[in-house]
């Protein structure tokens, strides 16, 4: 009887994880848990457009595939591209720990630690790409411990095609195994085919006649501008260091709780190559958040979560059996607490910021021009509304120093061709639209200097109706060294 139950254990763990995450998941458009990029993923799944850097070609392709079938795209993408991969990752952690330790109870405990981990749970329950990419990395590790390099590269390649972070993670794994290069080099073409070549889709989309929203138009200048717009790695000032260290520690403690004790024991010296691979992955994701100026990159800590859960299992083997009970009890407590306090479904009903913003965009009359940022959560939500059929003309805020930018030139070209709007910058295009009798709105309050370039009235929730434009004002936005960069939504500015 016992052996029959054990036979079903993986299926039971996977089923519980699916139920748990599905129940907590947010079924409507949301910006919760730093998922404001979801607008971009939805727009890129509805339309073939260039999404935010570095493109995530596999993720948007899967979004397109799901869009072929009936049903709400938000629900489909959340359940199939976040909830399901997260549940599979929990299952993989069970299988990996079972394989490494041979102990059923410890494997269950490790998977429970991951299941209730706040950082992991948060990304499992909203529309984001992190669950999927972490599933591929964990799957890669599952094959790696079996010495199957081709399957390891296949998994890491698919992960790289979802999120660019897997490229440096793969490089770190290979650095650990540098001396065995003659073994893994034979499998390397698999990685290139699955992880590098898919990015050709983004180049193809740039070259194609697609809406030039985040980017569009293909040239070296355009590629440079597109990739350069995301360069925030390692830029956090040392002034911010103490607070960020506190945040990193808080995220790890609140996510993993008591499991930190066995996980540190599991990662103790002497280090095997497998432990080094785990340490490299954990260290890289912690380093990224620790030094990145973008405060929302706490989401990148998710890459470390399965590996810390596996280390927990490796540590528990070296400890007395009562520790397993304590850690399991702690993980179950966190699961219960998080199901109440980090319940995305409930939180989005309590704080419906994104749905309300989406409604505001929908309330703008069709055919209107809207002066809006080119990036950021508001813009991405705006693209989502456009991709759902809302007919609006996007006039982007372009700072004076960016008027010669290749992407901007391609965009100006597209505005003329697509909407007949002429102009070379924000004000001239807005003025042209007004002159043609097109109702023109502006995201309010406008940022850094734009306020003086537009005269508007507060006519619609979060959008003002533009009455006149001052084209003689040059608005500059370049931050100088040491200057504060503010990251907050427009209605707080």
């Amino acid at each position: 009887m016992k052996s029959r139950i054990r036979h079903w254990t993986p299926a039971i763990i996977g089923f519980i994880a699916i139920l748990y995450y599905a129940a907590l998941s947010c079924k409507t458009y949301t910006w919760l848990f730093a998922s404001g990029d979801s607008g971009d993923w939805l727009a890129a799944s509805n339309w073939w457009i260039v999404p935010q850097p570095f493109g995530s070609p596999l993720y948007i392709s899967l979004g397109h595939f799901l869009n072929l079938w009936l049903g709400d795209l938000v629900i489909k993408m959340t359940l199939l591209l976040s909830v399901l991969p997260a549940a599979i990752t929990v299952l993989l952690v069970y299988l990996i720990v079972k394989r490494l330790t041979g102990r059923e109870r410890i494997a269950i405990t490790s998977s429970a630690v991951l299941l209730g981990a706040a950082v992991f749970l948060s990304q499992a329950t909203v529309l984001e790409e992190y669950s999927l990419v972490v599933m591929f990395v964990t799957l890669g590790f599952y094959f790696y411990i079996q010495g199957k390099w081709k399957l390891t590269f296949l998994s890491l390649g698919l992960g790289s095609a979802v999120h660019i972070m897997v490229v440096p993670i793969t490089a770190l794994w290979l650095m650990v195994h540098f001396r065995e290069w003659q073994v893994w080099r034979k499998a390397l073409p698999v990685y290139i085919a699955c992880g590098v070549l898919p990015y050709g889709l983004i180049l193809w989309l740039m070259a194609s006649d697609t809406p030039r929203l985040v980017a569009g138009g293909l040239s070296l200048g355009a590629i440079n501008s597109y990739l350069g717009s995301t360069g925030v790695v390692g830029t956090l000032s040392i002034v911010e260091t103490p607070e960020r260290i506190l945040h990193v520690v808080s995220f790890i403690v609140a996510s993993l709780g008591l499991a930190i004790v066995p996980s540190t024991i599991g990662l103790k010296k002497p280090w095997s190559n497998m432990t080094k691979v785990m340490l490299a992955t954990i260290g890289f994701s912690v380093w990224y958040y620790l030094t990145c100026i973008d405060p929302t990159t706490w989401t990148f800590l998710i890459f470390s979560m399965p590996f810390i859960a596996i280390a927990t299992g490796l540590g528990l083997v070296k400890m007395k059996s009562y520790h397993t009970h304590i850690i399991l009890a702690g993980a179950l407590c966190l699961m219960i607490v998080n199901s109440i306090w980090l319940n995305a479904d409930r939180l989005n009903r309590e704080y419906p910021i994104a749905p309300k913003y989406y409604q505001a965009v929908q309330s703008i009359p069709d055919g209107s021009a809207v002066v809006i940022n080119r990036g950021g959560w508001e813009a991405l939500g705006f693209y989502y509304a456009m991709s759902e059929g809302k007919e609006l003309i996007p006039v982007f805020f372009i700072y004076a120093e960016n008027e010669d930018d290749a992407l901007h030139k391609y965009y100006v070209e597209w505005m003329h061709k697509e909407y007949g709007v002429k102009g070379y910058n924000t004000q001239t295009m807005a003025q042209y639209a007004l002159g043609k009798g097109i109702e023109t709105y502006i995201l309010i309050p406008p940022t850094l200097g734009w306020d003086s370039a537009f005269e508007y009235t507060n006519s619609l929730h979060r959008f003002g109706e533009v009455k006149s434009v001052n084209t003689s004002i040059k608005v500059h936005g370049k931050a100088t060294q040491g200057e504060t960069t503010e990251w907050h939504p427009f209605w707080q500015r």
């Binding site: 830029t235 000032s237 945040h247 808080s250 995220f251 030094t291 704080y351 040491g482």
Partner: protein, 102 residues
């Protein structure tokens, strides 16, 4: 340092679990605030003098003993400054960021 670590290692597990339990209570609320924040103001300061440079110093402190074994101190510092230069130039040109090199 080693004696401090030995003392820390000597702490009974129940004390460690208790401390961690309390740490969860205190850290949960702040991280929840960060996680669910959709409208509060975020602020971070960008600068050429980044935490990475401090990390590089730390790594150098750990690694220099091994790397410079049997060599002059000048060799170690030369390697350090070349590393620093390469790192910041990478951020400057690949990341398009402002660093101590402009």
């Amino acid at each position: 340092m080693a004696s401090i670590l030995a003392k820390v290692r000597g702490i009974p597990f129940w004390v460690t679990y208790l401390i961690l339990g309390l740490a969860i209570v205190f850290s949960y609320s702040p991280i929840r605030e960060i996680m669910i924040n959709q409208e509060g103001s975020f602020m971070a300061i960008m600068s050429g003098l980044t935490l990475n440079i401090i990390l590089l110093y730390f790594i150098w402190g750990v690694a220099s003993d091994k790397l410079t074994k049997g060599k002059s101190k000048r060799f170690g510092w030369t390697v350090f400054f070349i590393g620093l230069f390469v790192l910041t130039l990478t951020f400057r040109f690949v990341g398009g960021l402002e660093t101590i090199f402009g």
